[in-house]
């Protein structure tokens, strides 16, 4: 049941949807004029393709999951409160967070898709795809209108003005980090159970 939609075949797809999504994201970043972001996505995709190539000596054991103390999440908020976004300490912190998260997730092997997708999981896929489609549509209209974010704002155009206040920035980065930790913790616990 690809993406959790009912009626979809449970057979393994010949293409890896996440890899396709990463390549599309890299192209989208390039088109929107963010070559650094495009290269990051492309680099990770290439590393992933190399890592995921079929091997006879594939590792199937798990290391201990990373423990992220709640204090670390609060510390990220305090860091933004002290220095504000676009500062070097915050850039370093977010870079380190990303590298640690990628490393932690890269260590664990791929597991066979033998667990059933929960019933009605498609509703979450539908929300995610709707957001992607609406963002893409807004971006296309924005570009067609000469880059006028006032008439066709993307999500970034709408959220960015809210982040001018440093307290809001601190709350936002705390929420962002907590959401990421919750996502990774749930996934790590489930594949070890």
């Amino acid at each position: 049941m690809a993406l959790g939609f009912p009626g979809r075949s449970s057979r393994r797809l010949t293409v890896d949807l996440p890899v396709i999504a990463l390549v599309l994201a890299a192209i989208a970043h390039w088109i929107r004029g963010a070559p650094t972001d495009a290269l990051i996505f492309l680099g990770v995709t290439l590393l992933l393709l190399i890592t995921e190539r079929p091997r006879a000596d594939a590792v199937t054991e798990f290391d201990e999951p990373f423990r992220v103390p709640a204090a670390a999440v609060v510390a990220a908020g305090l860091l933004v409160l002290a220095f504000g976004r676009d500062s070097v300490p915050v850039a370093v912190a977010i870079s380190v967070i990303g590298l640690v998260a990628l490393f932690a997730e890269w260590r664990d092997p791929s597991l066979p898709a033998d667990r059933p997708v929960p019933p009605r999981a498609w509703v979450w896929s539908a929300v995610a795809l709707s957001w992607c489609a609406w963002e893409l549509l807004s971006f296309i209209f924005e570009q067609a209108a000469g880059g006028l974010s006032l008439t066709h704002p993307t999500m970034s155009d709408l959220v960015d003005p809210l982040l001018t206040n440093r307290i809001v920035q601190a709350v936002a980065i705390t929420g962002w980090l907590a959401a990421g930790v919750a996502m990774l913790r749930a996934a790590a616990a489930a594949r070890r159970s």
């Binding site: 998260a101 890269w106 929960p118 509703v123």
Partner: protein, 67 residues
């Protein structure tokens, strides 16, 4: 109704739907699965894990670095 309001309403509707699903998944978990339980199944593949981590990290990078 101008194009900006339509765009904002679209985003608002999607966000409200996600919040509604999140609440519903806690109230009636047998009818609506929790997002974390869906992710837990999807993220058994390494490529899916890396894609989700990169997408999540990029949100932080995009809004907090490089303006």
């Amino acid at each position: 109704m101008n194009s900006r309001i339509i765009t904002e309403l679209g985003f608002g509707l999607i966000v409200l739907t996600a919040i509604g699903l999140g609440v519903a998944s806690h109230l009636v978990p047998k009818r609506i699965p929790k997002l974390t339980s869906v992710l837990a199944v999807v993220m058994r593949r390494r490529s899916a894990r890396i894609a989700f981590v990169l997408a999540w990290w990029w949100v932080g990078w995009h809004f907090f670095v490089g303006h």
